[in-house]
Symmetry: C2
Subunit: 597 residues, 2 copies
């Protein structure tokens, strides 16, 4: 059975030494996040994830969710009990608004929790995860009355939430959606339509489920400008907050999926269900996108969270499995063979995952901190600057971290040889579960288009310029230290390639938008390398300073330097190939007539 | 439900126009392979695969194999009937020795069949596939009596075969295997031990199963030099060929696997089962490796065969699914959206798969032809030259084509968006099935080591030199034609990188073998690009010549040129990144103490 150990030490290194969250103690939420409290919270979260969630991850996959004849849905054995403990521990309100009962701690802490939850049990993590998304939408666009009615119960975890976008004929292109909302005399709406792929769509964990549903008013304009957002509870909620009668949100079926079997992904059929408009009519997509952008950073975290647990298990196996001999002679001469971790190609797979996971964690937490600053920084200018950077980073974190997270789940499975293909080791589950991250919350091709088509040109390229400046400063600070030379060299080369790629897009995308589309994924991955290389250079500088200052734990910082050098020397050179792919342009991509594929 | 159309036209192009198999009509088997016969055979094979095998692929995955309480095993619904038709069609003997009832057709035709079988139904294809492996071992090392006793029944398909290598504690490192063979007075042996991961290990398709089993004699030397190979039939075979009593080969269980559910991968428990030594005592591994090398080329074919069927389905979906608009304005203004094949990033995924599949098919068939020449060419010199090239190409075809085949199954699944994650579309099955190819018949890390540690230095590098010469000649022939400039340019750059990589290995692997190990996978993939680029240059030259000569079907050849240019311009530049990864050496790969992973 798989193991999991939450990376608390690494998270504390990032929060305290790299991101230096202590310096933001003037901001709401951060004031409470003292080093001791943060450390205690992460320890508790680790305990819960390791001891409660991880043990029911594999069994949850094998059992899946069940829809009963009466239409009710039960989650796998142990999920209900684990969720009760999760609620009891106060985890549902960790980063939520204190006004409605939340603890109001920094968003960046929420991402630390999210990583652990997903590593321990991706399918379980989605129940509170979707709830957070729904709470975000209500917080942004809900009336005071709506907030009062729904948020406290959701924050305390008594109710959960979902996001309902997709319909059978439309996913990416929401302009085509057909679910209807008919206005009623009392100001409510009757919602009718079918939604598919609804994560956490029905279950037995909570007493009510608050669905956020995109639908169309009778007089709505065509396309994306005619979509409104509605609150549709599974059971109607009285004015006193009491849970009343069933609201005709029927679970038509549970989807049969490649993975995340422990999460009930539902087909929901709304039949004159009572809904309540949230925010302005016909402006529903805007709210949904604000919510989705936040969710996308979370999905990026899921990408490396899966790779992290897969990596940890591959390391254990590589230490224990004996097979063959070191190329340099027996490392273990008194045993019939050496542990496979002596083999360079096994280490290559482990180091690929390790050097990615740690930098992806750093980038995600940095972005989480920027999300906090975008809401809470003291000046408008600082808030805007943080928001611009978050906007730019979001598609990269979602697209790159889930593509590469999946890749490292696959390579960690590979370390197990034939045993990795066998269900019982649990490695193939990580691959199947991680696969969804590349697809949901906007498939990765959409992330790449969002990056080159929207985020890059936004405000005249201000976000990208700010990133180049930031990365350049990180590089500048690391200069002059021989230990950091591999970092500054490789980051310099990566930045040069990224700037050339950006320039090429500016020159070639206007005249032919297909040039942007054809190179969008290459550009996103190029940017991803530079982002991760920047994080490594930052971490390496901090580690070198720690070593210079004297530390009880030199091994931790030396390991950071080695792992970072691995990334800079072996992975960063891919930027050149990605630049060449981009610069090859759209001609051959678009040349074939459809009939000739 | 997924579709499949066998690529007969493309296979005929390769056999007739590129490989020009007609010019070998002086060789045994090739004489019979007239263009008309070859075309008729491929058409029949296509019909069988499309109409009989593909329709039971998805249902076979969902149902899986069943072990009953009495220890017997049944395959999924329809497999028994399909196998009977397969036997009836004479497919089991297509390339087998006419002396024992085979049709003796060229091996290269067998690979065409193998591709179609796997695309249509990977799990099914493994039953005859393993049989071919077992027949190869008996053909190589069996006594005349053994050949007479087993081959005719196996060639006609009445019996199937398996290969039994792996045990719970050893896979790659067969030196540790424990299965015992005790000599009996009558010259037979009693075989006792447990074998795992035995593909096609038990089933209801054939009246007997001939297991080829690696085991140890009582006085055998330790390690790999003490392994012998035995024939162990499931049911004893009388001297008259009659099938007799059960031979104590017990199916302890069917493995639970990520994919290929329609194939019964068994744990076999041998309890004093009667076995017969095949070949020399203690030389069993040698025979097993001859057999396995042939099987590895077949697994490489499986790699792109999975990608091919996944690609075909992605193309169909991309033509039908309407979602969003072309970046250049509506392509389909009278519909609410355009088919997603208008989007450059969707085309990128399709072109990646297409441009890989077609070149991988070419390389595999070229290698298949070389296998034929290694056995049948008129001079010893020609046979040796062909054999050297096959040895070199085998790990590249197995390792690269299965890694990339998997990648393109994943990207073809991605084209389906959320629907690709749903079981019913069948796309996730291709991913799960293709995954095994990277693992079995020697995990891909082993292929990479085989390439750099064994094949490359073999005979003073003769194989690699012959390949460089061949690729250089292909490039030379394409020079001076402007249409082929992208091919000769990119192939030139790729060859330069490959030669630099080879030189680096020669200079750095001797002093530190970990340098070879740490760069082996990068080197293998670099070589893979150059191999595929060579194939594209070859095909492009043939296509250009056809166009110049005038043809009824210019679109076919123009599409080849476009698809090839895509590969050369967008994929070949990866060689530079792979060279950089190799040249980074082993330092950071090996630096960490085991405790610091």
């Amino acid at each position: 059975m798989p193991i999991y150990r939450a990376p608390v030490k690494d998270q504390l290194f990032l929060l305290n030494d790299v991101l230096n969250i202590g310096k933001y103690s003037n901001l709401p939420g951060y004031a409470d996040a003292t080093p001791d409290l943060v450390s205690a919270i992460l320890d508790e979260a680790a305990k819960f994830c390791e001891n409660e969630l991880q043990p029911i991850n594999h069994s949850g996959d094998q059992e899946g969710c069940t829809r009963h004849d009466d239409g009710s849905v039960t989650t796998p054995k142990g999920f209900k009990e684990a969720y009760a403990k999760y609620v009891e521990g106060g985890w549902t309100g960790l980063v939520q608004d204190p006004e409605y009962g939340g603890q109001g701690l920094p968003h960046v802490l929420g991402l630390c929790l999210e990583e652990m939850l997903v590593s321990a049990n991706h399918a379980f993590a989605m129940y509170p995860g979707l709830s957070s998304g729904a709470m975000a939408a209500i917080s942004i666009d809900g009336s005071d009355e709506q907030k009062q009615k729904y948020l406290p119960k959701m924050i305390e975890g008594t109710w959960t939430g979902t996001m309902n976008l997709t319909e059978p004929h439309c996913g990416t292109d929401l302009g085509m959606l057909r679910t209807k909302a008919e206005p009623q005399a009392d100001g409510s709406y009757k919602i009718t339509g079918t939604k598919i792929f609804i994560s956490a769509g029905d279950h037995d964990l909570a007493e009510n489920i608050i669905h956020l549903v995109l639908a169309r008013l009778p007089d709505a304009p065509k396309g994306v400008k005619g979509i409104s957002l509605f609150i549709v509870p599974k059971y109607k909620v009285g004015d006193d907050g009491s849970v009343g009668e069933f609201n005709n949100v029927n679970t038509a079926s549970i989807e049969h999926k490649m993975g995340i079997h422990g999460n009930s992904t539902c087909v929901l059929s709304y039949e004159d269900a009572t809904g309540y408009l949230i925010g302005e009519a016909n402006k529903g997509l805007r709210s949904m996108f604000i919510m989705m952008n936040a969710a996308r950073i979370g999905v990026g975290v899921q990408g490396f969270a899966n790779a992290e647990v897969a990596y940890q298990n591959a390391v254990e196996y590589a230490k224990e499995r004996i097979q063959g001999r070191s190329l340099k002679g027996a490392a273990n001469p008194d045993k019939p063979a050496d542990p496979i971790i002596v083999h360079p190609d096994v280490r290559r797979m482990l180091m690929n995952a390790k050097s990615f996971n740690e930098a992806a964690r750093a980038a995600s937490l940095w972005c989480g901190q920027l999300v906090d600053l975008s809401h809470k920084a003291e000046t408008e200018e600082d808030r805007t600057a943080a928001d611009d950077m978050v906007s730019l980073l979001t598609p990269i974190i979602k697209g790159v971290f889930t593509d590469r997270g999946f890749e490292y789940c696959v390579s960690s499975q590979q370390v197990f040889g034939g045993h990795g293909y066998i269900v019982e080791t649990g490695m193939e589950q990580f691959v199947r579960d991680a696969r969804i991250c590349q697809i949901y919350e906007g498939a990765n091709g959409i992330q790449a288009l969002d990056l080159v088509g929207r985020k890059l040109p936004s405000k005249g390229g201000a976000g990208a310029q700010a990133f180049f400046k930031f990365a350049g400063e990180i590089r500048e600070q690391a200069k002059g230290d021989d230990r950091l030379r591999p970092f500054t060299d490789a980051l310099g080369a990566g930045l040069k390639d990224l700037q050339a790629a950006t320039m090429w897009l500016m020159q070639n995308a206007m005249q032919n938008p297909d040039n942007a589309g054809a190179g969008s994924t290459a550009y996103m991955h190029l940017f991803g390398h530079v982002l991760l290389g920047t994080m490594w250079t930052w971490m390496a500088k901090v580690a070198a300073d720690k070593l210079d200052a004297g530390t009880d734990d030199p091994t931790f910082y030396e390991t950071k330097l080695t792992t970072g050098r691995y990334y800079m020397k072996r992975r960063m050179p891919e930027t050149a190939a990605l630049l060449a792919e981009l610069q090859a342009g759209a001609d051959e991509v678009m040349a074939l007539d459809v009939a000739n594929f």
